[in-house]
Amino acid sequence: MENLIALLVAAPLLGAAVLLCGGRRLDAVGHWIGTALAAVSFVLGVVLFADMLGKSPENRTLMQHLFSWIPVEGFQANVGFQLDQLSMTFVLLITGVGSLIHLYSIGYMEHDERRRRFFGYLNLFLAAMLLLVVADNYLLLYVGWEGVGLASYLLIGFWQHKPSAATAAKKAFLVNRVGDMGLSIAIMLMFTTFGTFAFGPVFQATGALTSGADAPGSEGKLTAIGLMLLLAACGKSAQVPLQSWLGDAMEGPTPVSALIHAATMVTAGVYLIVRSGDIFNAAPDAQLAVTVVGAVTLLFGAIVGCAKDDIKKALAGSTMSQIGYMVLAAGLGPIGYAFAIMHLVTHGFFKAGLFLGAGSVMHGMNDEVDMRKYGGLRKYMPITFVTFGLGYLAIIGFPGLSGFFSKDKIIEAAFAKGGAEGWILGGAALLGAAITAFYMTRVMLMTFFGEERWRHAPTPSPAEPSVEPAAETRGAHAEPHPHESPKVMTIPMIVLAVGSVFAGAFFGIGERFVKWLEPVTGFEHGHPPVSALTVTLSTVAVMVVGVGFAYAQYGRRPVPVVAPRGSLLTRAARRDLLQDDFNHVVLVRGGEHLTRSLVYVDHTLVDGVVNGTAATMGGLSGRLRRLQNGFARSYAVSMFGGAAVLIAATLLMRAV
C-alpha cells in the first residue's frame, strides 16, 4: 500500500516530464496524456482511501520512508511520506478537482498552440501539490511548497508575451518567496530547538517542551515558529498582508485560476497551519495572530470582491475572503481545525465550479471579463447558469447547500472562542457572510440577469488589460455570440455543482467529517455564548440582507456599462484597498532607488578606492620622475646629499 503514495506523486510528475521534454511530436495527444495521468493519481488516491477506510481510525496513518535525502552531521533530512486522514482529504480534493479541471482545460485551451506545455505545467502542479500534502517532514513539504509556487508562476505567466501576465507571475512568485522565507526560518528554528523537522518527532518534542518545565521561554520559541509558519501561510494563501498577488494571478488561464488559485494551492496555508496544530496549540499568541489575520482577510477580500467588475477578480476577492474563514477557523485551535478543512473542501467544490462557470462565460463571450458587458446570459448558456447558480447558492451559505454547513460551523466556532475575542471574531465572520452574499449576488445579477449589455458593446477597452490573447484567434472584435460551452467543459462544471450542493450536508450531518479528521487534528466542542441555533439563524438573516442589498442595487436598477466613479471606499477597493499602491511606492520604488544608488556606490566608492590608489601611484610617480631632470650636476647633488645623510645617520646611530 505504502508504495502507492510514491506512485501517487510520481504519476503526474512523469506526465510533466514527458510533456515538457517530449517536444512538438506530442502536441496532438499531450492533453490526453496529462489528463490520463491526473486521473491515474485520482484512482490511486481512491484506492488508498478505500484501504484507509478499512482500518480503525487510530491507525489509519501510512508512513513510508523512501531514502535519506540530506544526511549531514546532526542534520538528517529524509524523503518520506505520511498519509493520514488530513493528507488523504487533500489528496482526494487535489486529484479529484484536478482531474476535472484537466478535462475542462482540454476544451478551454483547445485553440492554444502551446496546450501541451499547459498540461505539462498542470501535471507539475499536481505532483508538487501532492508532495506538499503527503510529505512527512517540513523540509520535504517545503519542496512541494515551492514546487506549487513554481507551477503557479509558470501558469500565471502562461501567456508570456503579455507583459501583464509576466509581471503578475513574477509578483506571485516574489510575494510567495517572502512567505517561504518564513517557512524556512520556521524550519531552522525547529532544527535548533528540536534537532529535527519531521512531523512526528517535532510534535512529540513540542509536547515534551510544553509539559516538561525544563525549558523556560520555550513558549516564546514555539510562538516564533508559529508566527513564521503563519507568515508562510499568508504568502501561499494570499492572506493580509501578502494577499496582493492573488488578484493579478487572474492573468492566468481560467482553469488555472480555478484549480490553483481557488481550489487547492491557495489553501496550502490552511493545511500548513492545521498540520502544525500541535505547535499552535502550545503557542496561544501565535494562534491569536492567526485568527486576526483570518478575520481581517475575510473582510478585506470580501470588500475587494464587491468592487471588482472583472468577474475573475471578483471571484479572486471572494477566494481571499473564504480562505480568511478557513484561517480564522484554523486559528481557533482544535475547535476549528476540522471545520477549516471542511470549509476548504466544500469551497474547493463551489469555488472551482464558479471559476469554471466564469471561464465558460468568457469562452462564450470572446473572453470578455468585464461583468458590465455581460447581462441576461442565462438563456444563452443554461448549463453554465445552473451550475454557476448552484455554486453561488453554496457560497453564500444558502441553507442546505454545502457552504451553509461549513461556514456556519466556523462562525459558531468563532463565537465559541469566548470573551471579547469571540464576539469580535464572530462578528467579523458574520459581517463577512453578509458581504459575501452581497458581492456574489452582484456577480450573479450582473452576469446572468438584467438587459443584454453586450449587444453593441464596445470591444474590450484598452483600459482593461486582462484580455486573454486567444481573443485574436477567436475574432474578438465582432459582436459576441454567447453560446454554451462544449461537453468537455460542461461535464466538470456539473460534477462540481453536484459536489457543491451535497458535500456540505454529507460532511456536516452527524459530524461525519469531524470524526474522520479527529485522530489527526483532535477536536473539542465549542460552547458559543449564544445557542448554535441563534448563530445559524443570524447567519441566514445576514445572508438574506446581503442578497437584498445587492438586488436593490443591481437587480432593480440597470447596470451602467461604464463603471460609475463610486464612493471613496469603492475606488479604494477597486485598487485592492491601495495595498498595491503602497507596495509600489515603498517596495518597488524604494528598491529601485536603493539598487541604483548601490550601483553608483559600487562604481564610485568601492571601485573608486582601487582605481584611486592606482591614480595616486601614477601621480606620485609623475612627480618623483621630475627629479630626474637630466642634469648631471643635480644628480651629483643628490649623491652628495645622500652621502651626507648616510654619514649623519650612521653617526646618529652610534650616538643613540
Binding site: 620622475r625 621630475r626 631632470n629 637630466g630 642634469f631 648631471a632 650636476r633 651629483a636 652628495f640
Partner: protein
Amino acid sequence: MNPVNYLYLAALLFTIGATGVLIRRNAIVVFMCVELMLNACNLAFVAFSRMHGNLDGQIIAFFTMVVAAAEVVVGLAIIVSVFRARHSASVDDASLMKL
C-alpha cells in the same frame, strides 16, 4: 706639527672639490674638481701613513695617482668627443635624456 691638521686640510680640499663638482658647469673643470678630491684623499693617506708610521698610505697614494692619470685619459677622451660633437663642454647642455 700635529698631522691631524693635514687631515683637516684634506677634508677641506675634498669639500672644495665636491662643491666644485656641484657648482661648475664646464665638464673639464668639474673633472678637475674630482681630481682635487682624489688629491685630498692622497693627502689624507700620506698623513695617516705618517701617523701610523707604516708605508701603506704612501703606496696607496702612488696607486691613486696612477688611477687619476687613467681617469684623465678616459675622461678627457669622452669629454673631448662630446665637445667636438656639441661644440660645448657644459655638462648642462648634455641633457637629452631626462625624466
